[in-house]
Subunit: 270 residues, 2 copies
């Protein structure tokens, strides 16, 4: 079994992956809290000296550790996402790690969504972003994801590492359920209020199921001949506006789940 | 006259701009050493509190301050280029500055050159990179320039600032002359040795004359309706492989100088 180090393994996405990839890979964790039952290194991800031992003997890294909120202020973006991502790629290079899966985000291109307002995920808006779409971050968080993709491209080109950047959309702890009593959320890129009803529409665009997430990461770890790629991590939702074509072509991966349309399929006939 | 703050005004590019833009703009400097005869703020560019006073009353910023060597190691890239560029954009936003010209670099897409080896600037190679070409940095320095472009895009989208990213190629103190006794240079992206003869070929692709540099920056500062753009800063050289089309369309700018082909125009007939 391939030895895979997961950074940020204690987080929302990391804990899903640990469940879904267990038994298929020899998993290790780089975290801020030990993960019970797993070989864990506890360190600040931005501390290169402290994290380096965790990479010994590792064949692939799944780099999730980051401040994951769109509204993260600059000091945390700088430390956790920029310095942390540099430290992970550099530690991987020094240890001879051959594959790095980097958790990028749809917020690396979220500016298109902000510009289009809600049109982008209306039925038949006709807009489809793909891996050739120019980066357009909607936040400092999004800027840090563009940075990570660029760093990954450099490490791939310069050191022969295989790097897969996954623009992960919306992985929810509760899958498609919205918590009882939730009225809505703030959306930092425009400081909008998004109602419970609008959240259902967004899920019909953005949702990535736990099973599809694990399938995509697994497909990267099994890929043989890809040196660099940018892939959208999203289920096959009816209002999806990100292309999955290159994930199928490069990795043989396609999602199996799909969020429902609010109001049912009849909505698309309007 | 428009008040323009130039960061890194003491450097190679900054000192050319000061000469060429004097009299057309009210110039100020943000530097590490005072510039004689100019209103100068001396501060570490990454120190937001220290640089903020320099932005008061400024209408446009030309952000040049950075570690400018392709081989710059990570700690300096992080401090000078990443933290410094964030501090400049944020200080500009707080002061209500309307325009930022950001000195990016051809190294933001230098990976295409590394991949193509010397073919890219051979006669009629048929390759032309433009503003839609995906970022592909050839160095940590190049990664920092991708970061700066992404940050500029975010500040433009989120705060209505006009941002012009100039992928400046090769501005030389001595214009086209190579110093006597120079045998060649190291090229950090591949740690290649480049001979004096090869340098002449590269100049025939990469050169940006002092006059063309000033003309391009001036065109940005005069632009009325551009919110964001990426432009190549290169003279109209015979082996140029970067498009100038969008600079002409957006800014009405085109270069007036061109480096000669080694061996003369007959080379192109081979």
């Amino acid at each position: 079994m391939k030895t895979v180090l997961i950074t940020g393994a204690e987080g929302n996405i990391g804990s899903r992956l640990l469940q879904n990839l267990a038994g298929r890979y020899e998993l290790r964790a780089l975290t801020r809290e030990p993960v019970p039952g797993l070989a864990s290194t506890v360190a600040d991800v931005a501390d290169l000296d402290a994290i380096e031992p965790a990479f010994a003997g590792v064949e692939a890294v799944v780099h999730l550790a980051a401040s994951a909120s769109v509204g993260t202020p600059w000091p945390e973006v700088l430390h956790n996402n920029i310095e942390g991502t540099y430290a992970v790629f550099e530690a991987a290079r020094r240890a001879g790690v051959r594959q790095v899966v980097f958790a990028s985000s749809n917020h690396a291109v979220g500016g298109y969504e902000v510009e289009a307002e809600e049109r982008l995920y209306h039925p038949r808006a006709g807009i489809m972003l793909d891996q050739r779409t120019l980066q357009r971050p909607d936040s400092l968080y999004g800027v840090s994801k563009v940075f990570g993709e660029a760093l990954g491209r450099y490490y791939s080109d310069a050191f022969g590492m295989s790097v897969y950047c996954l623009r992960i959309a919306w992985v929810r702890r509760e899958e498609l359920e919205l918590p009882d009593g939730l009225q809505g959320i703030r959306w930092p890129p425009k400081d909008h209020w998004i109602s419970r009803e609008e959240l259902r529409w967004r899920l019909a665009a953005f949702w990535l199921s736990h099973a599809d997430l694990a399938g995509l990461v697994d497909a990267c770890l099994r890929a043989e001949n890809i040196r660099f790629g940018i892939y959208y991590g999203v289920s096959n939702n009816p209002l999806r506006f990100w292309s999955l074509d290159n994930a199928l072509a490069d990795l043989g991966w396609q999602p199996h789940d799909a969020a429902p349309l609010p109001g049912g399929d009849a909505t698309l006939e309007q």
